[in-house]
């Protein structure tokens, strides 16, 4: 553990009732979610605008079907509204919490669809390469998305392959091992090392 100093911020006073979003802090999402947790619908509009892009993006990426993705994005955003009072800041960032809900919901949907069709055949049929073509539509957060995409470059090709199959492809680690024809332990290691690299690239305070 190296020597770490608290950063000393400039002392700024927020005005009573000031719109936090107007002051463009780096992460207004936590504050919005805190207000949403108290039933503030206007804050929810702000929250929607702040997270709908990544939410819809990841849902679309996993489901690959625009109509279904819209449906799931709506479910996710309503779920965020419902569950906001249960958000626990000690467990992670507000945006991370929202995106965890979104990804989980998309993966659940893709797996139940898989279960209802020919599951085994389906895994083989879904080409591994499909996880790599980037679907980018009108991207509101284009700059940030671009920065983040560049930060994915810290992954080795092998790590990236496994991490993207898992996260964007919605496959379990067992399925990833099956698709790539590598041992399960190797997949676990690549997923873990990949996320560690991404995490370290982001820094402690994300």
């Amino acid at each position: 553990m190296g020597e770490v100093s608290f950063l000393r911020p400039e002392r700024r006073r927020a005005r009573p009732g000031a719109e936090v979003a107007d002051e463009r802090p780096e992460d207004p999402v936590g504050d919005l979610l805190r207000r949403v947790a108290r039933g503030d619908e206007r804050a929810f509009e702000g929250l929607y605008d702040a997270v709908a892009g990544p939410v819809h993006g990841v849902v679309l990426r996993v489901l690959r079907d625009p109509a279904q993705s819209e449906e799931v994005t709506q479910e996710v955003m309503v779920e965020v509204w419902k569950q906001a009072p249960r958000y626990d800041a000690a467990r992670g960032s507000a945006r991370g919490w929202v995106l965890t809900i979104a990804h989980r919901r998309a993966v659940d949907r893709v797996r139940s669809a898989q279960a209802s069709t020919d599951r085994e055949g389906k895994v083989a049929a879904r080409d591994a390469d499909r996880a790599f073509d980037v679907v980018t539509e009108e991207v509101e957060h284009r700059l940030e998305a671009e920065q983040v995409r560049r930060s994915l470059d810290v992954l080795t090709d092998l790590q990236r392959e496994s991490v993207e199959l898992a996260y964007y492809g919605g496959y379990t680690h067992r399925q990833v091992a099956e698709i790539l024809g590598i041992p399960l332990g190797t997949v676990k290691t690549r997923l873990r090392d990949g996320l560690i690299r991404l995490r370290d690239e982001m820094g402690v305070v994300a």
Binding site: R11, A14, D27, G30, A89, R104, H173
Partner: protein, 232 residues
């Protein structure tokens, strides 16, 4: 793996799944096992939180604006949808209450837990007003997580989230450094689930707060490097 070490081995197996779990790349049974581990093991929970943040960046990388009609549709549904009740107080808050001996600390922990989410990555957010609501003095990285110092009506509260627990047999100890530079012990930080909250009683305004890692029970003088400092 030795049969005699079955339980540890099992735990290690589950721990190996933390990254896969953060990517939702586990099946339902594995997910349940991981989530049980996360409830029981603060270190695993902290590790998992880091993975989840990393994973969420992958969502940002593919952000795609949904059709405008979806916004109206979501807002309409939200306006007729009831929210769930807040969770009961967590163990952490209850523990803070016992330690601090003041209900105010528990309330602050709740308020600041939320506040801190806004602080992460900012280093500078001030929600403070002049009427007793907390204002942020400083925030920054500490032990793999984030720590912040807040001021409430002249009292100081230090809190953190996502903080790695000190190694077994060690504690985080707080010190105040006055003008004479002599460290005065000010109690301990005890992360639970990566979070901590502590009130600094009778704080000398202008003193520097320092944190070191000490043997359990604490020391009279710092015996390790200073891990963090903040001026008040």
């Amino acid at each position: 793996m030795a049969a005699t070490d079955h339980r540890t081995g099992d735990r290690d197996d589950v721990r190996d799944l933390l990254a896969a779990h953060a990517l939702d790349a586990v099946d339902d049974v594995e997910r349940a096992r991981v989530e049980r581990l996360l409830r029981e093991d603060p270190e695993a929970a902290a590790e998992s939180a880091g993975y989840a943040e990393a994973a969420s960046r992958m969502a940002v990388a593919v952000a795609a604006t949904p059709p405008p009609r979806l916004r109206a549709s979501v807002l309409a549904e939200v306006s007729r949808t009831q929210q769930v009740a807040p969770a009961p107080p967590t163990r952490r808050e209850a523990a803070a209450d016992r330690r601090g001996g003041r209900g105010a600390v528990r309330l602050l922990a709740a308020a600041c837990g939320v506040l801190l989410a806004g602080c992460v990555g900012l280093g500078a957010v001030v929600l403070g007003q002049d009427d007793g609501s907390p204002s942020l003095v400083a925030a920054g990285g500490f032990a793999d997580g984030t720590a912040a110092l807040l001021e409430v009506d002249g009292d100081y509260v230090v809190l953190g989230q996502g903080v790695a627990a000190p190694p077994a047999g060690r504690v985080y100890q707080l010190w105040s450094l006055g003008d004479d530079g002599v460290p005065v012990p000010e109690g301990f930080l005890e992360p639970e689930d990566g979070g901590f909250v502590g009130q600094l009683d009778d704080w000398r305004d202008g003193a520097v707060l320092a944190i070191t890692e000490e043997p359990a029970g604490g020391s009279e003088q710092p015996t390790s490097d200073i891990l963090a400092t903040v001026a008040t």
